[in-house]
């Protein structure tokens, strides 16, 4: 039966160098669709949740979904599933670009890396020719140079490269894996796991096609979705024109854009780093991932005079060339949260994060925490090696470099805000959940997203339950951001539905216009499955519970489903949301009840049976 699954996985043992092709477990595929769900099932089945994330017992899984590599709009995504060294919880980070589709074209749904190499290696894939090769020439190099060097070593300019930079090699706890220089599986430190295995990169080239089960139906289904995406003012207009950073002004006007490490919920100079300013002054073009009709990516260029500022190394980086980004999250973390309003320093720090292979959200948030330590006198210029006052644009750029290489104070920043704040005696300055730093929406101003952060299986994060769509943007329906009523159900629904989107291989941004009634038929006609929307939601719920059980076994109890004191008790000091706190206690018990969990967040026997877990 023709299907968009390749039904094959590559198992690469880095300790003994063996490479095997295996058939994907069909039962698991049916129960979890693919992508995030399927890979997590493999992780759960093959590893002990209590292991050290940076030990050779951990596995690193690259996985695609059934729609990855097909012409389904936004069918570009691949995911990295592993145990996170930052949180100790399950990690699943998602990236677009062209790497995931290429892996499918080479004939694989998934790669499982196990063990650890003694010397730096990279995996080279050309359809059925798969080999581990020496990477000592590129070890120590940035992501961008690595990509160029490996493409020429392979003699194939069309090859796609996913690599770690110095940050991953140096096990920066929030390092990421970057493909096509600017697309990253960003959060939770998946790059450090790759670094601990001495795996520098995966280079893939595939020339096989991807079949679909019912081509006539499939093209009908994808054309319907494409029409909806084109006609939507969000996916057809706002995202291509302004990128995700269009939200800077939205959140700021509303009083939900955290600034100065969450001391405030508005930034006085937001306009200077907004999506509108970026589009008017630094944008060269927008850019799309594979098969994406939205094209939210930003190709940006620095003005000549800015390219000479804050030079951090004499390496091959050419600041005069165009690069990509920043997106909304990166902008927020490295600008308002640090009090920085210099758009060029922001662009440069963003590019540095991409080249060093480092999550700009966690980097910016950790620097903001350091700036608060500095502001309160807990650290001084001698400890930090430089002035870390809020608003210092030079520190933003230079500390990015120091963090990636773990130089000087950067070595402390590389541990993330949770560990940094504790080290210097102020754990209350850590703004996040389960040791991962918050993203860009103030949970005091927007109640539901606070619940989504607190209960997120990968620690503070917006993408696994993006209630902002409803609470701020009115998609699919507007709910009041200040209200707690109904937010438990809203959060659960978004979390479960996102599990399906992530497992399908589509981009979550597609859901600003299409939903499961459009996505599920595409999965069915591509694979020959016969899921209903309800079946899919049940799978999303199964994935959520499976991840949650992994975390419980890893020792992360329900008591960590909480928010920092500043968010629960420290009222927003000024602006339109003045006086607000997050009222988590009004939402969490109801959420547990809806999930079928007891008050300690343990799923009941009945729920596990219902979900076949």
């Amino acid at each position: 039966m023709s299907s968009s699954y390749t039904n094959r996985l590559l198992r690469v043992n880095l300790s003994d160098g063996s490479i095997k092709i295996e058939k994907i477990n069909q039962d698991w595929q049916n129960k979890f669709i693919g992508g995030r769900g399927l890979a997590t099932k493999y992780l759960v089945a093959e590893t002990d949740p209590k292991i050290d994330a940076l030990s050779k017992e951990n596995k690193l899984i690259f996985v695609t979904g059934p729609l990855t590599g097909t012409p389904a709009p936004t069918g570009a995504r691949y995911m990295i599933v592993t145990k996170s060294p930052l949180t100790g919880a399950v990690a699943c980070s998602n990236s677009g670009g062209y790497f995931g589709s290429e892996l499918k074209f080479a004939g694989y749904d998934m790669i499982i890396f196990e063990g650890a190499a003694e010397k730096p290696v990279y995996l080279s894939i050309y359809n059925d020719e798969v080999a581990l090769k020496d990477a000592s020439e590129v070890w120590g190099k940035g992501v961008w140079e690595t990509e160029e060097l490996l493409k020429s070593a392979e003699g194939d300019s069309e090859a796609k490269v996913a690599a770690i930079g110095p940050a991953g090699e140096n096990k920066v706890l929030f390092s990421c894996i970057v493909n096509e220089k600017h697309r990253a599986a960003g959060r939770s430190g998946v790059g450090a796991v790759m670094g601990s295995k001495k795996l520098k990169a995966v280079v893939v080239r595939g020339t096989k096609g991807i079949g679909v089960n019912n081509p006539t139906q499939f093209f009908e289904d994808i054309n319907r979705s494409k029409e909806i995406l084109k006609d939507s003012p969000v996916t057809g207009k706002a995202l291509p024109a302004y990128g995700t950073a269009v939200l800077v002004n939205v959140m700021n006007e509303y009083g939900g854009l955290p600034a100065y490490n969450f001391r405030k919920a508005q930034f006085e100079n937001a306009e200077k780093v907004s999506g509108e300013t970026l589009a008017d002054t630094r944008l060269v073009a927008n850019k799309a991932c594979f098969a994406c009709t939205i094209a939210c990516g930003r190709v940006t260029k620095l003005p000549d005079e800015a390219s000479e500022q804050y030079i951090v190394s004499t390496s091959s980086r050419n600041w005069k060339n165009a690069g990509e980004g920043p997106e909304y999250e990166n902008t927020w973390a490295m600008a308002p949260l640090c009090g920085v309003d210099d758009i060029d320093a922001l662009i440069k720090a963003n590019w540095l994060c991409n080249d060093l292979g480092m999550d700009p959200i966690s980097y910016g948030a950790t620097l903001a925490c350091a700036m608060e330590l500095y502001d309160t006198g807990a650290i001084d210029e001698k400890t930090a090696g430089m002035n870390l006052a809020f608003g210092n644009a030079e520190a933003l750029v230079k500390m990015a470099y120091a963090t990636g290489y773990r130089e000087g104070f950067g070595d402390y920043l590389a541990e993330g805000a949770y560990r940094l704040s504790k080290r210097f005696g102020h754990p209350e300055f850590f703004m996040g959940v389960k040791k991962q730093e918050f993203p860009a929406y103030d949970p005091r101003s927007v109640q539901g997203i606070g619940l989504a952060y607190a209960t997120n299986n990968r620690g503070a994060d917006h993408l696994r339950g993006y209630t902002i769509a409803s609470e701020i943007m009115g998609i699919p329906e507007k709910t009041d951001p200040a209200a707690t009523e109904g937010k438990a159900a809203l959060t659960k629904l978004f979390q479960d539905a996102t599990g399906v989107v992530d497992s399908s291989g589509l981009c979550v941004f597609s859901t600003f216009a299409i939903g499961l009634p459009e996505i599920v038929p595409m999965i069915n006609s591509a694979t020959g499955s016969n899921y209903s929307v309800d079946d899919a939601l049940k799978i999303g719920e199964r994935i959520w519970n499976m991840e949650h059980l992994y975390n419980l076994e890893a020792g992360i109890s329900g008591s960590e489903d909480t928010l920092p004191k500043r968010i629960l008790e420290g009222k927003i000091p000024e602006g339109p949301t003045k006086g607000m706190v997050n009222r988590l206690s009004e939402m969490l018990p109801e959420y547990y009840k809806l999930r079928g969990w007891d008050s300690s967040a343990t799923p009941t026997e009945a729920k596990l049976k219902e979900l076949d877990l």
Binding site: L239, N249, V250, E253, E276
Partner: protein, 76 residues
């Protein structure tokens, strides 16, 4: 009364960044939209002094209010 209106994203192409409006006492958001000739369907998020009107076009305005108007937007 005097109302400050701020426009965002592509609304700026047509209305500029900001404008100052004079409206009679008791005016609503609907009256403001009429005066600046802004069709409601081009907008999704309307905030008065940072507070969402939650779709209520009869929301009453007061002197010196700031109204922030956004088209439908999304991000991540």
């Amino acid at each position: 009364m005097n109302i400050k209106v701020k426009f965002f994203a592509d609304l700026r192409n047509r209305f500029g960044k900001e404008s100052a409006c004079r409206l009679p006492e008791g005016s609503t958001i609907a009256d403001l939209f009429k005066q600046v000739e802004l069709p409601e369907e081009l907008t999704r998020i309307v905030l008065v002094n940072g507070k969402s009107i939650e779709g209520n076009m009869n929301y009453g305005l007061c002197d010196k209010d700031t109204v922030s108007i956004f088209p439908p937007v999304g991000g991540g």
